[in-house]
Symmetry: C2
Subunit: 261 residues, 2 copies
């Protein structure tokens, strides 16, 4: 009998060429499928709620698969923990009461982008934040960001090479916060939406950083959005500052965990 | 006229084969000397207060060099900041009033070792901490550590391959603290001494972790110390959890910074 599983996982994107399996490259999907094959004895394809690019991190990515197996969710969790390299962590394994596909069923996601600004540079942030020598004005960035809240055609913030048809999305939350850190200046930008176009968060961040540095006026994000022209928005922020925080899915309900059957 | 300089630097040890220049490998000394040569127009040898091994980090390493140059300390700082890769940061450049060699003149140092324990593993700690699946008992580790305070022959904690003559050192402080972190269990061990034998901190940490896991009794550190036998102490903890925090030097006094001359 086919059973449906949902994995919640975290990974440090630094040494991965992104989520998606590729022929000769180390990817999160490849490592996870290899570990799962060791447990199940056969290849099983995993689906993520969204592909992350090379260097992008996840604190709560959601992945689905179906399998005919007698293993309990706890056995699956322990086995994957044992087999996986230590830059992927399994946070939770759940069994769903019906068909579940994390891609099709994801309805809301939240990302964080980490910036480190100023002359005092954190050497440990090299692969975990984007550094700006110029100090960022968080109030201006916050004001600029307000234009992006709500339902809009975000085509100006879509990365090239995308093949999506619709480009209208709804941003439910978009915050810019300076983080209290005694050692280094840090800023977090968080974006929550019903879905994201390719590179949308990184293009929004690039646009807001232009404002925060004083390179562009506070109206820059609004102007870019209205233009529907990719050229008008800021540069694509580099991948290493981006973290997928969580994914909310439309779910068929969870089956209570039980012992191995 | 020869001038004497003191640099205080930080580095993420992850992508370095340690401090010391080696033929074909990326080291901190190599990168720093390359940057300095670009500024001074000739090769200048740098001396660190102590060599760090591959993978070991520094938050306050002290480095010295002498040069005949007209540049101000601020010009040197800015130039090195520009030329260096972003896993090395220059925290301070000072000019000394007389001969200064960070190796010979260092009189006290402090290291931190970062542990992450328990079933919930932080994927971002892979190269920045040592993970233990077993939860650590900090009280037992602290009790075990007390035997090491003060002046002792630490030969049992010396790594093999060392050619030092004297093995007596004085530990002024040795703390074991659980860190308040809402997401992951972390423990910091900090050791301050007048000097360290090769791998001494990592061998002390290995010994204390044996106690904290319950693999060895609380008297383990005292027994190992008294035995003067390397075999009696614990394993050498891996390099990625180790951070050189600061170095105190006997100094000839600082020359007031001035403009380029």
């Amino acid at each position: 009998m086919t059973r449906w599983f949902k994995l919640t996982i975290a990974y440090d994107g630094r040494e991965f060429e992104g989520w998606q399996r590729q022929k000769t490259k180390r990817t999160v999907q490849y490592e996870l499928e290899k570990a799962l094959a060791r447990l199940l004895g056969k290849h099983t394809t995993l689906l993520a709620s969204g592909r992350t690019d090379a260097g992008v991190h996840a604190l709560g990515q959601v992945v689905s698969f179906d399998a005919e197996t007698h293993h309990s969710t706890e056995t699956i969790r322990r086995a994957l923990c044992n087999y996986l390299p230590d830059d992927i962590a399994i946070l939770r394994v759940q069994e769903m009461a019906g068909q579940f596909r994390s891609v099709a069923d994801s309805i809301r996601k939240r990302y964080r982008y980490v910036l480190q600004d100023g002359q005092k540079r954190d050497v440990f942030a090299r692969h975990y934040a984007w550094h700006s020598w110029r100090e960022l004005n968080v109030e201006l960035m916050r004001e600029a960001a307000q234009a992006l809240w709500g339902t809009h055609d975000f085509v100006a913030f879509e990365g090239s090479g995308s093949r999506r048809v619709g480009t209208v999305r709804t941003i439910y939350d978009l915050t810019v916060e300076r983080i209290a850190d005694p050692h280094f200046r840090r800023v977090h930008i968080e974006v929550e939406a019903d879905g994201f176009l390719y590179n949308m968060v990184r293009n929004i961040v690039g646009t807001l950083v232009d404002v925060g540095c004083g390179r562009r006026p506070v109206t820059h994000a609004a102007t870019a959005l209205a233009s529907k022209d990719r050229i008008q928005a800021g540069m694509t922020a580099p991948p290493q500052g981006l973290y997928l925080l969580w994914v909310l899915c439309r779910e068929p309900g969870e089956i209570e965990p039980r012992m191995d059957v």
